[in-house]
């Protein structure tokens, strides 16, 4: 009897072990990552649009108990406030992969941690694509869409990370931008028009959620027949960034890959926040991060906030490259255990892989003086101790947590870091990183001796 009981327990345990887990990221109607595809027609708020959604819509139309637009707001595929046959038609077209128009959420971020949404409609599926911003380009590359990107803002930019975006740089035409009087970045409509004329299937532009600072002239872009999809890709909020991956995958017919990617991001995010919550308070690393310019420590600066989420202890909100002498006061200097210098390819502070090789000189030039001339950074105790870490910044937000967490707590994050980086590299289209020893975090001494 005991043997039979033990055998039964073993068999049951084996069955349970092989049941689909919550974090599989596989297909089907479950939402293993806990985030819904933000497209109207996704009535059951899982990660895709399928027959399950059709069933719900039909039940609403037939007024079955418990089924209404109030309980299933995303059943309203036409976004007209009424659930009827037209919603069924839209969902059926999506299931059959026939062209239609879909309503979905666009994300708007203020550069800190606040996210707003707006419902817009986009022609579906999106074939040829236009993209702006390096983190959106990263999303496209991760989904294997390099060759479908026909227009991009940074392809003429010599600082762009040529490891990751090599194919996009080769294939895409440059999109140019200009600035209005408020220094909002506006797409140059004539260059958008040029790309659209050359590629008649290019009717969608994927842009970042930074509404004021990227493709600010959204309505003008839409006036020339190009839909604008805003992805929340680097904001330090879990659900919106993961939903954006699903959205990008759905719109470009790469949803299966997007689910895998979203699952990876959610795993990393959840693991990082779990590690951060287990860190002994007395062992917390006092950090300062080089970007944001906000002297207030906390969530108003997304860069600072990501480090907080990863378990760091903020000494001060952030500091720009040109820091003031306050950094040498004991209140800050003595409490900074580590300095994190974030480096990414679209911006202001150095080029990690701009020319297929690390650029230590250009990175250091922003922080280290000319020969014989000290900068204030060099006078800090953390700098003298070599507790300065240059961290790659082009990866999406879940990786921001991981890389910064690893820089601060290598012992706690080590295993997760090794495993996750390998997985992420496998998503980069074309195996650009394959066979290369890619290092994403450099200590100061490593850069100086590179």
């Amino acid at each position: 009897m005991a043997a039979i009981a033990i055998a039964a327990i073993v068999i049951i345990a084996a069955i349970v072990a092989f049941l689909p887990k919550g974090n599989n990221g596989g297909g089907g109607s479950d939402t293993p990552i806990g985030v819904a595809l933000p497209v109207y027609g996704n009535a059951d708020l899982d990660s895709d649009i399928d027959d399950d959604d059709l069933k719900i819509i039909k039940k609403i139309i037939s007024k079955e108990t418990g089924y209404s637009i109030a309980t299933y707001p995303f059943a309203d595929a036409k976004k007209d406030g009424i659930i009827d046959q037209r919603d069924v038609d839209v969902v059926q077209k999506i299931i059959k992969k026939e062209p239609t128009s879909v309503y979905h959420l666009n994300y708007y971020n203020d550069g800190a941690v606040n996210v707003k949404t707006k419902v817009v409609d986009t022609k579906w599926p999106c074939e040829d694509l236009m993209v702006t911003y390096n983190s959106v380009m990263f999303a496209m590359t991760s989904l294997g869409l390099d060759e479908r990107v026909v227009g991009a803002t940074a392809v003429g930019n010599t600082s762009l990370d040529k490891y990751v975006y090599a194919k996009m740089i080769e294939n895409a035409d440059p999109l140019s931008y200009t600035y209005d009087s408020s220094w909002n970045s506006m797409m140059d409509i004539s260059s958008v028009s040029k790309v659209m004329l050359k590629h008649p299937k290019a009717h969608t532009m994927f842009v970042s959620a930074y509404g004021n600072y990227d493709a600010y002239n959204e309505s003008e872009i839409e006036n020339v027949g190009c839909d604008v999809v805003r992805l929340c890709e680097s904001n330090p909020t879990r659900d919106e960034t993961i939903a954006s991956v699903l959205l990008a995958g759905f719109l470009t017919n790469t949803l299966d890959r997007a689910k895998e990617l979203a699952s990876l991001y959610s795993d990393i995010w959840d693991s990082c926040t779990r590690i951060a919550s287990t860190l002994p308070i007395d062992d917390k690393t006092g950090f300062i991060v080089n970007v944001g310019g906000d002297s207030i420590a906390g969530t108003s600066n997304q860069h600072n906030y990501k480090c907080l989420l990863a378990g760091g202890k903020s000494v001060l909100g952030a500091a720009s490259q040109n820091i003031g002498t306050w950094i040498l006061e004991d209140e800050y200097n003595k409490n900074i255990d580590k300095i994190l210098i974030i480096v990414w390819s679209n911006a202001n502070n150095g080029f990690f892989f701009g020319n297929h090789e690390l650029n230590p000189q250009t990175i250091l030039a922003n922080y280290v003086g000319e020969a014989g001339e000290d900068t204030l950074w060099e006078k800090t105790d953390a700098w003298k101790r070599d507790d300065v870490y240059f961290v790659y910044g082009d990866y999406p937000t879940a990786f921001d947590l991981l890389l910064r967490g690893y820089a601060m707590y290598p012992d706690y994050y080590g295993a997760l870091f090794d495993e996750s980086c390998k997985k992420m590299l496998s998503f980069i289209s074309g195996g650009t990183f394959e066979g290369k020893n890619v290092q994403l975090i450099y200590k100061l001494s490593e850069l100086q001796s590179y």
Partner: protein, 359 residues
């Protein structure tokens, strides 16, 4: 010299002024025509004006076709920017003439009277502190516009209030304007200490000046304010001439200097504020154009005003064209950058070659 010869010489003298104005206007016209052909679709002159004529005749095209894109870009991108540049340039130049005349100071312009500083402070408050006088959304364009406009009027209001306690001399007013400018800049710097990188970029960008992305929505308010201001100041040209002869002479001739000065400063503030609110701080036009004009056609405001208007328009639309010509495949240069490159050496040249009798 006989009377007839004198009359002939005077007519030639006037003709020179008129010709100068007509040449400036012709230049504006030529650059306006050229500006419509610019952009990345490589439209030639004849192709561009084929679309212009067709548009006027009511032609429509199927969306997404090349014809449709060409028509759209000419009438919804190139034309509003060019129209804005012409009117704004004229407005800034005429405001500069009026400012220099009423202040009796060759350095008087939007900077020295604090108008630009006020606008900048308004933008900083909107972007960094999120306090909008019109719109509630932080960083909204309407909010920034509203703040820029209202705050640009604050320095003038302070000057006018303070003027009652001063001797109302031009020197005192310029000094007051400069002091207010420094004061407002200090406020702006203080606010900027709280800024993120992006809002700092916005405030900085405002100080550069740009008409990139101008749409037809941006034109009416600025155009109405500017045209009204130009007309009023043109009507006051004779009185401004009298003011230029000196305060005592002007008073002796029965001119109410304080009232004229107040009226001009108010109108001029509105004109400059309406441009700054949309385009940011466009430097040099208001300072340089009146000086260039006076160097060529002397200081009669009846001619200086229209000539400066034409030259200001030419300068701004010319800078806009240059900005587009030097654009890289990835970025268009803001017009304020070009103006600074052009305006500074030009101003230096003027100082070196200036005729002392025109100022």
């Amino acid at each position: 010299m006989t009377e007839a010869e004198e009359a002939g010489e005077y007519k030639a003298y006037l003709l020179r002024k008129v010709i100068f104005i007509l040449v400036m206007i012709a230049g504006v016209f030529a650059l306006f025509i050229y500006s419509l052909t610019m952009g990345q679709l490589d439209l030639g002159f004849f192709e561009t004006y084929h679309y212009v004529i067709e548009h006027i005749m009511g032609a429509t095209y199927e969306p997404g076709t090349r014809d449709w894109f060409c028509d759209y870009l000419i009438f919804n991108r190139n034309m509003p920017e060019s129209v804005f540049a012409v009117i704004a340039g004229a407005s800034l130049a005429v405001a500069g003439v009026a400012m220099q005349s009423v202040m009796n100071n060759p350095l008087a312009d939007a900077y020295t009277t604090g108008i630009s500083s006020g606008a900048c402070l308004g933008v900083a408050i909107a972007m960094i502190l999120g306090i909008n006088l019109i719109s509630g959304d932080v960083g909204s364009h309407i909010g920034i516009l509203g703040n820029a406009f209202v705050f640009s009027l604050v320095p003038m209001a302070i000057i006018l209030l303070v003027a009652k306690r001063l001797d109302q001399s031009p020197t005192s007013l310029i000094l007051a304007g400069t002091a207010i400018s420094f004061f407002l800049n200090a406020f702006t710097m203080a606010v900027m200490l709280l800024a993120t990188d992006q809002s700092l970029a916005t405030v900085y960008g405002w100080q550069v000046g740009s008409i990139g992305g101008t749409t037809w929505d941006d034109v009416p308010f600025m155009a109405v304010t500017s045209v009204f201001g130009i007309i009023v100041i043109s009507l006051l040209a004779k009185k401004l001439n009298v003011m230029s002869s000196g305060e005592n002479s002007a008073k002796a001739l029965g001119l109410d200097i304080e009232a004229l000065r107040t009226a001009c400063l108010l109108i001029m503030s509105l004109m400059v504020a309406s441009v700054i609110a949309y385009a940011g701080i466009i430097g040099f036009v208001g300072l340089v154009c009146p000086h260039i004009v006076r160097t060529i056609i002397d200081a009669d405001n009846r001619y200086v005003i229209p000539a400066s208007a034409a030259l200001g328009a030419l300068m701004l639309i010319g800078s806009m064209v240059i900005a587009q010509l030097v654009a890289t495949p990835t970025v268009r240069v803001p017009v304020g950058v070009v103006l600074s490159f052009v305006g500074a050496p030009l101003f230096l040249l003027l100082i070196i070659r200036r005729k002392s009798h025109v100022w």
